[in-house]
């Protein structure tokens, strides 16, 4: 028996690193991520490199090089901020003249527009993580949700009160359908969900291409891979009307509802308790009478349903149609959702902040690319670096001397096999 209490060495890896001053580590991971981004700006911007190369040419050169460095890094991060949250000078202008409010609010509006579907998908992934399931298939589930919702939204016609809810429900159903396949396969054959979901994503992409190129879903008169446009009655309308020029839309209320549901589900519901017990200790779950097969199938339905909802919210709030590039590449919110869920430590509130941050980095990255020429990919690098640092709390703690190395690692070293 060890005398010092070691926090459940049998507990899952998640539980172990989420229990240790998570917010502090996340904050420092953010700073480290921005530092990594700064280093990349310095080493890839010609103006900065030239200034450093000329360092020995004159007495003032090193100072000049430093100034160029700070100017470039500063400009990049400044445009990232002003492009994704608010531009103070534009805000001041609007305050004094009473005009240009639309311009002032465009950055934050864009960030919220991107954040809403990302948040919904991330909650789905987070619930799966809390149950011990790696749902790498959220993107494929979002694709099928988007297809199902867009079919209902573009090919059925009815008043908004019916059409919009039905469209969203179709999205959820599509996601559930896509999620049920890996769920059933794992429950009945033990197939590993990571492999199955990754493969299943490709099936979903192929299906997407098939449907957007097939009548009757393909846009009539088009030869391209593009679907019919959803009826206005099935769209998530802009909050301030189409004339405002702000894209922020009712999707954020769907996202807020999902967060509220997820919080209740995980913290208060009996089924959510079963999910968490299963995720934290599958053996104890079995001994406590939880049917792991049922939980497995249900968690894929919940997680897939939310991913599907994210897919249709994405389509119904921005493009209003889907095409062959739907949720592919940078737009693959189902994949970004995995990192967002990790960053938010699978907790609904944490995921809210994480998805806002990731949406802001994406939107701000575009503004930065437009104004400074630094490629948008820098935003992805920063996002990845942050998650990398969050996933290595020991490194972050060492770098910032947050706390002496935890004694549990010593205890672990002193135990060896069998513990």
């Amino acid at each position: 028996m060890s005398e010092v209490v070691t926090t459940g060495h049998r507990a899952s890896l998640w539980a172990r690193w989420t229990s240790k001053s998570p917010i502090v580590v996340t904050f420092f991971a953010l700073i480290l991520g921005l530092l990594v981004g700064a280093i990349i700006i310095i080493t890839t911007t010609p103006a900065v490199l030239d200034a450093w190369r000329a360092m020995f040419h004159s007495w003032g050169a090193p100072g000049h090089a430093l100034k160029v460095t700070f100017d470039n890094v500063g400009a990049a991060y400044r445009t990232m901020f002003t492009g994704s949250v608010i531009n103070p000078s534009s805000f001041g202008h609007s305050l004094t003249t009473g005009k240009g409010w639309s311009n002032t609010f465009t950055p934050i509006s864009e960030t919220l527009t991107y954040a809403a579907p990302l948040l919904i998908a991330s909650i789905g992934v987070g619930i799966a993580f809390q149950t011990g399931i790696f749902n790498i298939g959220a993107n494929g589930q979002a694709v099928l949700g988007g297809i199902a919702g867009a079919v209902v939204g573009s090919m059925l016609h009815m008043p908004t009160v019916l059409h919009l809810p039905l469209t969203l429900l179709a999205g959820i159903a599509g996601g559930m359908l896509a999620g049920s396949v890996p769920g059933l396969l794992k429950a009945f054959t033990g197939a590993h969900e990571v492999i199955v979901t990754i493969m299943w994503n490709y099936v979903m992409y192929a299906f997407l291409l098939f449907v957007v190129l097939s009548t009757p879903f393909q846009q009539p008169g088009q030869q391209n891979d593009i679907s019919r446009t959803m009826d206005p009655s099935a769209q998530l309308a802009p909050l301030f009307g189409t004339s405002s020029g702000l894209r922020v839309n009712y999707g954020i209320f769907v996202a807020i509802a999902v967060v509220a549901f997820a919080w209740w589900f995980l913290e208060r519901s009996s089924l959510g308790f079963d999910f968490r017990v299963t995720g934290a200790n599958p053996s104890a779950a079995k001994a406590s009478g939880i049917n792991s097969r049922v939980v497995l199938i249900l968690v894929f339905l919940v997680s897939g349903g939310l991913a599907g909802l994210a897919g249709i919210v994405q389509a119904a709030s921005t493009t209003h149609f889907i095409d062959g590039g739907f949720l592919i590449g940078n737009a693959g919110i189902g994949f970004t959702a995995i990192t967002v869920a990790l960053l938010g430590r699978n907790k609904p509130i944490g995921i809210v902040w994480a998805s806002l941050l990731f949406a802001a980095l994406g939107v701000g990255g575009r503004a930065m690319q437009a104004s400074t020429g630094i490629p948008l990919d820098l935003a992805a690098v920063i996002q990845s670096a942050i998650v990398l640092f969050v996933a290595t709390p020991v490194l972050v703690k060492e770098l910032f001397r947050l706390r002496a190395a935890p004694t549990s690692s010593l205890q672990l070293a002193a135990k060896g096999w069998g513990s």
Binding site: E3, T7, R276, V277, A284
Partner: protein
């Protein structure tokens, strides 16, 4: 080697694990460090072994103040440690394990296995530690694996051996063998620091006893002192080592197993035609050396392992191959053998763990929504009734001591309406105070007219609790006997020799 610890203090944050501890171990002495779980014994040993650094105090070896910044230095200064959980590579041979990290080499840096094997033979002979150097460690029984650990320490010329709870994993015979080894090592001049909370062993082997409670030395004792004297020093109050049982008045049969056959994880028959019946108001103790099918038997009863053939009846209801949920709902209480794996969710609160297998029962949930108020009230009540030591019901169960973790499980099971209780190794790894408590709960449950099946590999426990004793060997019941039967007779049954014992 003469080892002296002077005023060792070690703090973790605000918690003082070791408070001004001073101990002297003379050469050739078996010095026992006795204390409950959480008293600070392992912390002290980690300080001595260089794994932790003391905040105050000093370590003197043969009168010279010494500082170890890591365990390697401690090893070089002649201190050897045998951990409770062995640090061996299972797929390596004994010889490979012993020389690991200090391999003798021939030319071209090749490991000299012959020299390694010879060295081990020599040390084995010198200290009477019989073990085959070519055997693969994972094929050895636990007692021999421990011997390999001791060999490893001796091969580094250890003059002082630290044995951290060495008997926790051993069978009675293996314990006797270990005691003999300890004595012969002491005769050869080695000093031994023996850490334990088991009173019988302390009395059997030690020369000097130091008792630690809550991080402080509370006294020294002689091996001639009685067990209850030692226990009360260790716990800080008087402890009853045997639990008072009311007269045995069995009622009707509540639990019956017929010709049960169960396979283990490898698909081999682990339970081979076991039949048992238990009556109301009766504790059936199931004795046996671990690994004779008890684990599989209990798992089958709890619905966690499929039954191949035979039947399990609870109050006339067939629960053979029922789901764990159905078994729980039928009123079967289950205290699992591995409490951290099967009984608790370490990353959840005490309150949540107290409703772990009844989360949907009124009043804990209504229409799919958990009633946190009721869950908390339940936890407050049980923490009080079952004397669970925790700062709050919202505390993570992982921060509780082993004894209190077990109390959480006992409280959860005994507080719901039960028809029958199955407990597997209910006091393994617990300290005297907690053992007394758990035993009393089991006996109270029985005194109230309930039946129970208690599986234990500790003979003391079997005798303390059982109204009848069943012995399991190689998947079969080798005998069901009265508790007045001698230890020797039961020991024979445990090895499958049933001659001369009258069956009921």
């Amino acid at each position: 080697m003469r080892l002296e610890l002077r005023g060792i203090t070690k703090r973790f944050g605000t918690f003082t694990a070791n408070d001004q501890i001073s101990i002297t171990v003379e050469p050739g002495e078996i010095h026992c460090l006795l204390g409950e779980n959480g008293a600070g014994k392992s912390t002290l040993m980690n300080v001595l072994f260089g794994l932790l650094h003391p905040d105050e105090g000093e370590i003197l070896i043969d009168g010279v103040a010494t500082k170890f910044s890591n365990s390697g230095e401690a090893v070089r200064r002649g201190i050897g440690m045998v951990h409770q959980h062995f640090m061996l590579v299972p797929v390596f041979s004994v010889a490979e394990n012993v020389v690991l990290g200090f391999e003798p080499t021939k030319s071209l840096n090749r490991v000299d296995y012959k020299k390694a094997t010879d060295d081990i033979r020599r040390i084995s002979k010198e200290f009477n530690l019989e073990v085959n150097p070519d055997a693969i460690v994972e094929n050895l029984p636990v007692g021999l694996q421990q011997r390999v650990e001791i060999l490893k320490a001796l091969s580094h010329d250890a003059e002082l051996l630290i044995l951290d709870e060495p008997t926790a994993v051993l069978t009675p015979q293996e314990i006797d063998a270990l005691m003999a080894i300890m004595r012969s090592l002491a005769e050869a001049g080695k000093s031994i620091l023996f850490i334990t909370h088991k009173l019988k062993e302390v009395k059997a082997v030690s020369d000097v006893i130091t008792i630690i409670r809550q991080g402080k030395v509370v006294g020294t004792a002689q091996p001639t002192d009685s067990e209850s004297q030692l226990a009360s020093l260790m716990v800080g109050r008087d402890v009853a080592l045997t639990v008072e049982k009311s007269a045995f008045t069995p009622g009707g049969e509540v639990f019956e197993i017929r010709d049960l056959v169960v396979r283990d994880d490898r698909g081999l028959v682990a339970v081979n035609g076991v039949s048992l019946e238990v009556r109301a108001g009766e504790i059936m103790a199931l004795a046996g050396v671990q690994g004779n099918g008890q684990t599989e038997l209990v798992e089958a009863i709890a619905g966690m392992r499929p039954v191949e053939s035979g039947s399990i009846m609870l109050n006339g209801r067939d629960i053979t191959n029922a789901s764990p949920r159905a078994v729980l709902d039928a009123g079967l209480g289950h205290i699992p053998e591995d409490r951290q794996r099967d009984g608790l969710v370490m990353s959840m609160s005490v309150a949540d763990n107290l409703v772990l297998n009844t989360p949907r029962r009124a009043p804990f949930a209504r229409r799919g929504s958990r009633n946190l108020g009721a869950i908390n009230d339940n936890a407050e009540r049980l923490v009080k009734d079952f004397d669970i030591r925790t700062t709050s019901t919202q505390e993570l169960v992982s921060s509780l001591s082993g004894g209190n973790q077990q109390k959480v499980i006992v409280a959860r099971e005994l507080s719901r309406p039960l028809e029958f209780l199955v407990a597997s190794q209910p006091t393994r790894g617990l300290d005297v105070g907690s053992i007394e408590y758990v035993h009393r709960q089991m006996v109270d449950h029985r005194n109230a007219g309930n039946g129970a099946l208690i599986v234990s590999s500790e003979l003391d426990e079997v005798f303390a609790l059982g109204d009848r004793i069943a012995v399991m060997y190689a998947g079969k019941i080798s005998g069901i006997v009265d508790p007045s039967t001698s230890r020797e007779a039961i020991g024979l049954l445990m090895t499958g020799t049933s001659d001369g014992v009258t069956h009921e």
